[in-house]
Chain length 199, copies 4
């Protein structure tokens, strides 16, 4: 099977997913700057979603670069990841106008958690398809950032009934942790950027 | 003619088709978890459609890999398949909020049937464009899974006036049959995964 | 400049344009088969638009295959073609529910005419960028089908105030002429398929 | 890291961004030519946005052609550019029906300014990733057109409370300056087309 076409298809899906969220930014009926106020939280969530999907694209890209063999299980693990990512614009469409509410914050977290777990499954499926001692095996080590993100998501979902704003803050914090290059980690674990984005 | 660009264009169309269906998952106006109730059946149909289109992508991918010659007839057989696949989000948009109703269930089945027949036509058109004894000819044998799926679709459409829920269950069952790797079939007919997805 | 990336970008745009029109096929609120009646003309126009855009993709593909040199003027002639093609879903969205009306029929024709003229300009710009005696020069000869189509569009637009149904019939007829392989022309002018699709 | 996949992903995103704006051209409810009057300004802004995004695609294409090394910072500078470009359809959706109003004109200018600055950052990030004396360094010189565009955007935003029509005129003028090939500049500064489009 061809890795190149898997990449091309994934790129296409991710390109649509990352962009289609802009349809949530419906312009206001009025023409005053103050009419934009309800658009502001939607823009913030659009930015957050854009960063998460770009993170996944970056890491997906690096993950597949390190891979030599692809099989049917990989195709489906990849489709599973794309499915979860494709739910992001829908979850963002609900969270945007309901930034301080419990259920939209929790549902957005569930989509992030699902995407992170799907990425994890894809990594393991790819590992299982490589011969022992493959470059991918060497590249994927412990995943502190990823585990921290998973804990963050679960915590954010659990606390959303009490403090939905906190949940949203956690999502931004996780994105920031992945965005800011961690020089110390990069030195000790140069393969860190290789692993699960956003979880 | 270039197989690569045909693949690239098909990937682009399928990437849009598989993702655009998420626009059917409009967020509810309210912010309670119970407000998501009408979204649940739409999500189920989105997942079903995602799986079907991913199945077609996987098999389309394998089909073209086995091919050496492409001609004008192949381009149009391919366009015909893309046309049917592109109707999936529209049929899903109707079925999602009308899961227990006859006409939406039947129309969704017609789109599945049309896609399956279009895939069949594409396979035959590709075969006709290859020299005798081509790899594709060896790869495409009898197609039990495909024929079973066709019977399933026709049955589901025919029974939709009496039991629309049964029709929808058949669509899910067909998708599951294609998803679950059939080890016995894979041993006896290793080329099975090569043939018509979803029909 | 790279022909490959120009092709990739054009493929991406055309893939979105050909698929986005399906958003015009909004499902009816009701669940009866008769509720689909207003969708039927929209589906017919979606099919017509799909065929036209697929025709352009096919011919665009062949046109660029025959080309060795690309310059800035080609990029803009190509962007001009993509712009006209991208108007197709909008024109189709108006024509679909207004099949028997003058203005929507005329506007759809203007978009077809604009696309055909943009394709013509792209061909000439490509010719100007090639050295004398290039394969493209040999491939592009007289263009009877193209000229016939142009006459058809102008006639359809001119007659739309009197007979809008006739205009729509002309659009279908032109698409059919390009779809049906003309064996006689193919023998005499093997390069016919090379030239302007849909005009 | 692979430049090719960065290009492919960028092409995908830009293809969606450039086309999705056509969804703003909702057809009128009526069927008379005069019903199109409110669509006309939206079409003008769609054309303007199409030209700007095509300009960015052209220059992005040339920029990456001249590059040999890509790193993580480049991926994020590129994602930042794609984010700003993706806001264009949303800003256009507001400006289209409010051509003579202050806030929509200013907001559209802010998106153009943001895109231009993001392109500038991408250029510098790419330069920082190349070894000294790279082809890119030689290609990127002074950027008179770019600086002029930036001044134009700032001026247009600043004057939008007094003369919103002037602001929109400036946007069209900047697009025209970048579209029209400046032979004199091309002779003196052959690398001009290499630099910031639209700013």
């Amino acid at each position: 099977m061809s890795r190149d076409r898997l990449e091309a298809f994934s790129d296409g899906v991710i390109a649509v997913v990352i962009t289609i969220g802009v349809l949530n930014l419906r312009p206001p009926a009025g023409d005053a700057l103050t009419d934009l106020r309800p658009v502001a939280p939607k823009l913030a969530i659009y930015l957050l979603s854009f960063v998460f999907i770009a993170l996944y694209w970056n890491n997906h890209h690096l993950l597949l670069r390190a891979v030599e063999h692809i099989n049917g299980a990989v195709l489906w693990a990849n489709a599973n990841l794309l499915f979860w990512l494709s739910l992001t614009p829908a979850a963002a469409a609900w969270l945007g106008p309901h930034l301080g509410d419990t259920a939209p914050a929790a549902v957005y977290g569930v989509v992030l958690l699902g995407s992170a777990m799907a990425y994890s499954i894809l990594t393991r499926t790819l590992l299982a398809a490589q011969p022992p001692g493959s470059p991918l095996e060497r590249a994927v080590g412990r995943d502190r950032k990823g585990n921290l993100s998973l804990i963050g998501y679960v915590l954010a979902i659990a606390l959303s009934p009490i403090a939905p704003w906190f949940s949203v803050a956690v999502y931004f914090a996780v994105a920031a942790v992945w965005l800011v290059p961690d020089r110390r980690i990069a030195r000790v674990l140069p393969e860190a950027s290789m692993r699960h984005p956003g979880h």
